[in-house]
């Protein structure tokens, strides 16, 4: 069971992480940043996250700042 930490103050809503996740656990959130763009949120009800850190490697803005595995 893995986990990621998203720093919402850094997210610029480019959505690159959504396509990168092999389990599709990241989705658009209802929350918006100050430009009105929808942020992303981590949604893992079945504990599927692998902790592979592909989302964090892809994120250009350091918004996915911590990834845990196991």
């Amino acid at each position: 069971m893995g986990k990621i930490v998203i720093d919402e103050s850094r997210c610029k809503a480019c959505y690159l992480c959504i396509d990168e996740c092999p389990k599709k656990l990241i989705k658009k959130s209802e929350k918006t940043n100050k430009l009105g763009d929808h942020l992303v949120e981590f949604c893992d009800p079945n504990n599927e996250c692998l902790g592979c850190a592909m989302c964090a490697t892809r994120c250009p803005d350091l918004a996915i700042c911590e990834v845990y595995k196991g």
Binding site: C14, P60, D61, V67
Partner: protein, 252 residues
């Protein structure tokens, strides 16, 4: 017990927030550079000369000493730094307009002199900061604000292939072109940067990394479409690979 598989590199300033546009690969390039400095333990021993363009803001994000150079002259300044303090790790972080247009003289002659410096050049085929004008690496047919009908050979000439040109210089120890379009390529890019720094610290000569990057704002694309363009159009012309590596074993 949970194992942390990713954390932000210590070489980045605490609380750093990148000022790049959404989806710009500059952020990835700065982060992998900071990770390499962490892994090689060079953070306290590094000086950088920064350029003009979107790459200028690197000193706001990285915990190393920096000197701002006039447009295109980062490698000339880095030469001075390295000759005064040969024990320090010196690198420059430049865009293609800075490195290959206004600074092509400084850049090529730095490679020809074989200075022990690492140069990192971000190639996004346009002048990003000033609003998307035609740059030295703009692809044939690409529309920019100063080539509204697309770049044609008769009027604008051909784009420059920087990594190949640098590889032809005798002072160059390592020249490679990498891309940031997929996670696998990001990891390869990081290895290439690491190798360049290792060669520099051994004092073998000039090391150069060209990074194919995106500019979603000026290409008028979504970040995802911009990565497709890197894969389908840019990598056809600017082929990734290692063009020179004097540490590799000779096969002939």
């Amino acid at each position: 017990m949970a194992v942390q598989t990713f954390k932000l590199p210590k070489s980045l300033k605490e609380g750093a927030k990148f000022s790049f546009c959404p989806g710009c690969d500059h952020g990835v390039a700065v982060r992998i550079l900071a990770e390499v400095l962490d892994e090689l333990g060079l953070t306290e021993n590094t000086i950088t000369a920064t350029s003009i363009g979107c790459s200028v803001t690197i000193y706001d994000f990285i915990n190393v000493d920096a000197i701002e150079a006039p447009h295109g002259r980062a490698l000339a300044e880095a030469t001075g730094i390295k000759r005064a303090r040969p024990d320090k790790c010196v690198f420059t972080y430049q865009g293609d307009g800075d490195f290959a247009s206004i600074g092509i003289g400084e850049s090529l002659h730095c490679a020809l002199r074989g200075e022990n410096i690492t140069a990192i050049c971000i190639n996004n085929t346009t002048y990003g900061m000033t609003g998307g004008q035609l740059g030295p690496t703009t692809l044939l047919g690409q529309k920019t604000t100063t080539s509204p009908t697309g770049r044609n050979v008769e009027y604008y000439g051909y784009p420059i292939k920087i990594a190949e040109h640098i590889a032809l210089c005798d002072g160059t120890a390592y020249s490679a072109r990498v891309s940031l379009d997929t996670v696998a390529n990001i990891k390869k890019a990081k290895q290439a940067i690491k190798k360049a720094f290792e060669i520099q610290m051994k004092g073998l000569g000039f090391t150069f990394i060209e990074i194919l990057s995106t500019c979603p704002t000026n290409w008028k694309m979504t970040p995802e479409q911009a990565h497709d363009r890197v894969r389908n159009q840019m990598m056809e012309v600017f082929k990734p690979g290692v063009y020179k590596d004097i540490t590799a074993e000779k096969t002939v």
